[in-house]
């Protein structure tokens, strides 16, 4: 299955390990991701004022270019997925904005014909989880993984239709397919504070803290997410917690493709564990999932 791939701004910089693991794992699962030529910022959270069409220019451009290459657009970061998918819908339904945008950029009109998919959706679409189960060489037995969805993947559910907004199961399926154990912790769909962290630390502190606490008292070994912004907030909060609240046991946060890479038998080095803020290798080693050979 061939898709256009929209990495999103952090994938080439801060979260390079996420991007590498995506490329390596999708190659194995024969999902061909062809990166969009000279893509730019997806427009961040769905432009707040929907009445002005200008906020949709950049997502429209990416969608229009993906459509020209003739295949659907896959993205990984929750924010990009949210923005692109909702722009796709607005453009499909609202002829006026569509003409305004295409006149402004003088490209021929694109009316939302192709689809926007998250990498997990692309996997689920063509029996991805079945293929993962087959190709998992090193199942992560005994590893308790807490999937953190965040909100941009799920809401507004009528437009995104990613999963059941109140009770999503896609990450659980993914975790089962790589052999790990999914931990059901209540705050998995609470908001991590997103970009509010820029304006008011106090609000974010509360949000991220409750997520981490809820995951830790369900004895989760690893938290996985697919959104660099959630990763950033949770990781930063974890550092603060380590300093102030010594009772708190830090939990490593990984991108789901890193665990996938491990499960598919790629070398540990290529999974990019080194650039995670909290190193996950000790726990993986204690669970006997990596460095089995050496002491």
């Amino acid at each position: 299955m061939k898709y256009s791939y929209f990495p999103g701004c952090t994938l080439h910089t801060q979260t390079k390990n996420f991007n590498d693991s995506i490329k390596s794992t999708s190659a194995i699962l024969d999902i061909e991701l062809e990166e969009l030529k000279d893509w730019q910022c997806c427009g961040a959270v769905y432009p707040l004022t929907t009445d002005s069409a200008m906020g949709l220019v950049s997502p429209y451009r990416s969608l229009q270019k993906a459509h020209e290459c003739g295949n659907n657009l896959v993205t990984v970061c929750s924010a990009c997925y949210n923005v692109l998918k909702r722009t796709n819908l607005t453009v499909a339904n609202d002829g006026e904005i569509r003409t305004k945008l295409s006149n402004y950029m003088d490209v021929d009109e694109y009316a939302g014909e192709s689809k926007v998919l998250h990498l997990l959706e692309a996997m689920r679409e063509n029996n991805g989880f079945g293929i993962i189960k087959e190709k998992t060489i090193n199942p992560l037995k005994g590893l308790k993984v807490a999937p953190y969805y965040g909100c941009l993947l799920l809401r507004p559910s009528k437009e995104l239709k990613f999963d059941d907004p109140e009770n999503p199961t896609i990450f659980e399926e993914f975790i089962k397919s790589i052999g790990a154990v999914a931990v059901d912790f209540p705050n998995r769909i609470e908001c991590c504070g997103a970009y509010v962290s820029i304006t008011s630390q106090r609000k974010v502190k509360g949000a991220s803290e409750s997520i981490l606490k809820s995951a830790s008292n369900r004895e989760a070994d690893i938290i996985i997410t697919s959104c660099p912004l959630c990763y950033h907030n949770l990781a930063k909060e974890q550092e603060r917690l380590e300093k102030d609240d010594y009772t708190f046991k830090p939990i490593p946060i990984l991108y789901f493709t890193q665990l996938l890479a491990l499960a598919l038998g790629l070398e540990v080095e290529s999974c990019g564990f080194e650039s995670n803020k909290i190193d996950a290798r000790p726990i993986l080693k204690s669970k006997g999932l990596i460095y089995r050979g050496d002491a």
Partner: protein
């Protein structure tokens, strides 16, 4: 050429002030086809009527045109007069020269010309009229009530009292419906079964009511006054005639199963009766759970039964009944909590819905009235009630208000507080809808006397955290987020139509709205009738409503049925569609247009010379057709025509008006 009489009315000054009535009747005297033309001061008065009758009899007139006020006023009067004089009433037509001519025009000359033209047009219409005779439709005076809840029983009792036979069909093995499951009822807190059992008993023993429990209506055909209905009687595996109701079998039966009457709160035996006051008080074997059906062994009930009335090989049978009217009282169900994923999607045992709380609080319930936690049976110290769980929620495409939840949640809170004085009962609500008689006072009593804590806000999520149920909500009045750890959470889930309602609607050809409630003929003026003539609605089948409203609506439906049965046969308006079978080719393009589904294909035999040819033509069910005439426009060859407003009549009127 027909002999037509024209009568122009002065109506005192109303018409004569702007229409020269004398000139009009003069002009009409020598119009082709008019035998007698005259004007009179007040035609609708008795002497006026006498004048018309006398002229008809003396001159043996074949058609009458009365130029006076609007047909909506006196058409029936003049038609009755003509009928008294022996002329078919549908040979009389009215020209409206008052409301639509004299009163609305000032120029006398124009008004007179217009009046004369209108009268000439009506004369042309009468020339093309035919004798029409109202249809006598035979009527079976027997009513079928579908649903044995409080509404079905009320209708059955009312109609039975009026002396007409009633067939009451109930899909559960016993009647009582949802009301039998309730503990107490608001606003008087009197116990539900105390006020219900006299009614169920009376239904049980009333001579006019044939009770068919454990059965469903599977097919219905025919039209109002003449329905034939097929009822499937599901097997009970116990011969209820022989059974004396000693319930030994229920005691001795080894197999315990989940009782759907208790909504999962309690258990019952494989052979048992749902609750002690059930009518008919006879046991039924649950095929899926009974050991004999699974393995062929056990047969304990056969051993203990003194009158040997267990029949394992009992089969379902289809009963056919001729019915005059149908009352749909299929009641309601609560939205299953599995549908509400934000409240745990049914995973947590201690998150229950309103009906389950009723069973726990009910004296004949599994806990004999003591409110306990279903998970560990402990008495809960803090309960959270969540209103509008699933209703007033666009996300779930159910924006309507279920009307009864505010009241029964207040009742639940009061019952709990009466048992556990120091317990805390919190109610998350948006707006309290307590509009009935004594309702608001009831809720005030819950707040002030029983100290129920009402928090205005919706609950975001409910999840289990080390044995406690954490309720995340908000209190919009103090605009603070609220986190309550409760022992028990009761959801006031939405009222939805009973799950077989949609199928029932299709069988009876009665429309349902987007949510599955039955469509009433007119929301304000005809709430108890459905769109299909002869099918009436009662209770929650039509929309969520509480018991007082249900009973009053049920009595209304019963009144409708009784008025329908008060006549020996039904008279249908003869101004309905009619098919000219010589021309009809049977293309049935008229069929989709009829809103009353009164058109069906039929095969007729036509003799041409010595060969008999079979042909398909359309036929009209005179009982259902209301005479709108939309089908006659779809008929290309003009085979479908509407008597009273036929193509010929309208065309002649048109031509006369354009001369």
């Amino acid at each position: 050429m027909k002999k037509i009489g024209v009568f122009v009315c002065w109506c005192g000054l109303n018409i004569s002030s702007t229409v020269d009535v004398g000139k009009a009747s003069e002009e009409l005297k020598n119009y082709p086809g008019v035998f007698y033309a005259d004007d009179y001061k007040y035609l609708c008065s008795d002497p006026g009527q006498e004048l018309i009758k006398k002229t008809i009899i003396d001159n043996k007139l074949e058609g009458i045109v009365v130029a006076a006020c609007s047909p909506n006023m006196h058409e029936s009067t003049f038609r009755a007069a003509a009928e008294a004089a022996g002329l078919n009433p549908y040979r009389v037509e009215i020209t409206n020269i008052r409301e639509q001519t004299s009163w609305v025009h000032s120029n006398k000359e124009d008004a007179t010309i217009k009046a004369i033209q209108l009268i000439k047009a009506t004369v042309e219409k009468v020339k093309k009229s035919e004798d029409l005779f109202p249809q006598q439709i035979p009527l079976t005076k027997k009513v079928l009530v579908i649903g044995g809840g409080i509404s079905g029983m009320t209708v059955a009792l009312e109609v039975a009292e009026a002396g007409y036979p009633v067939i009451l069909v109930e899909k559960e093995p016993q009647i009582g419906g949802n009301m039998a499951k309730l503990s107490e009822t608001f606003p008087t807190l009197d116990c539900a079964s105390c006020i219900l059992t006299p009614k169920t008993a009376e239904v049980g023993r009333h001579s006019n009511i044939t009770l068919m429990t454990n059965s469903e209506v599977v097919e219905s055909s025919g039209y109002f006054g003449n329905f034939t209905v097929k009822i499937k009687r599901k097997p009970t595996f116990v011969d209820w005639e022989k059974c004396i109701g000693c319930m030994l079998c229920q005691e001795k039966c080894p197999k315990k199963t989940n009782s759907d009457f208790e909504h999962g709160m309690g258990k019952r035996k494989a052979i048992s009766v749902a609750f002690p006051q059930a009518i008919p008080y006879r046991p039924i074997i649950n095929e899926k759970e009974c050991i004999y059906f699974k393995t062929g062994k056990c047969k304990m009930c056969v051993k203990v039964c003194p009158v040997d009335c267990i029949e394992f090989e009992q089969l379902e049978n289809i009963v056919e009944e001729n019915i005059g009217a149908i009352v749909v009282a299929s009641g309601y169900e609560l939205l299953p909590k599995e549908k509400l994923s934000e409240y745990g999607q049914g995973k947590y045992a201690d998150v229950i819905d309103g009906m389950q709380f009723e069973r726990i609080a009910s004296a004949s319930g599994p806990t004999e009235g003591v409110i306990r936690r279903p998970s560990d049976g402990k008495i809960p110290q803090s309960i959270v009630f969540i209103q509008c769980a699933g209703s007033r929620d666009n996300q779930k495409d159910r924006p309507y208000c279920s009307k009864i939840c505010c009241m029964y949640t207040a009742k639940h809170a009061m019952l709990y507080k009466h048992q556990v004085h120091d317990g805390t009962a919190t109610v998350f609500y948006m707006d309290i809808r307590a509009g009935g008689k004594g309702y608001e006072e009831f809720v005030q009593r819950a707040i002030e006397d029983d100290h129920v804590l009402y928090l205005r806000g919706r609950v975001a999520r409910v999840y289990e955290e080390d044995g406690k149920l954490v309720v995340l909500g908000v209190d919009t009045l103090s605009s603070e987020q609220v986190r309550i750890e409760a022992d028990l959470v009761v959801l006031a889930t939405a009222v939805i139509p009973s799950e077989k309602a949609k199928v029932l609607g299709q069988t009876l050809k009665v429309g349902t709205d987007a949510y599955g409630f039955f469509n009433e003929a007119h929301p304000k003026l005809r709430p108890v009738e459905s769109m299909t003539k002869g099918v009436f609605l009662a209770g929650c089948a039509q929309a969520p409503r509480d018991i007082p409203e249900t009973v009053s609506q049920a009595t209304g439906a019963a009144a409708k049925v009784i008025t329908m049965f008060s006549k020996n046969h039904l008279v249908s308006d003869p101004q309905v569609a009619k098919v000219n079978e010589k021309i009809c080719v049977g293309c049935l393009q008229c069929e989709p247009i009829c809103p009353y589904k009164a058109i069906e294909p039929e095969t007729i035999e036509v003799r041409i010379g010595h060969t008999v040819e079979k042909r398909q033509v359309a036929t009209i069910n005179k009982g259902l057709c209301q005479g709108c005439g939309a089908c006659s426009v779809a008929c290309r060859s003009g085979a479908m025509n509407l008597s009273g407003f036929s193509n010929e009549q309208i065309l002649e009127e048109l031509k006369a008006l354009c001369l």
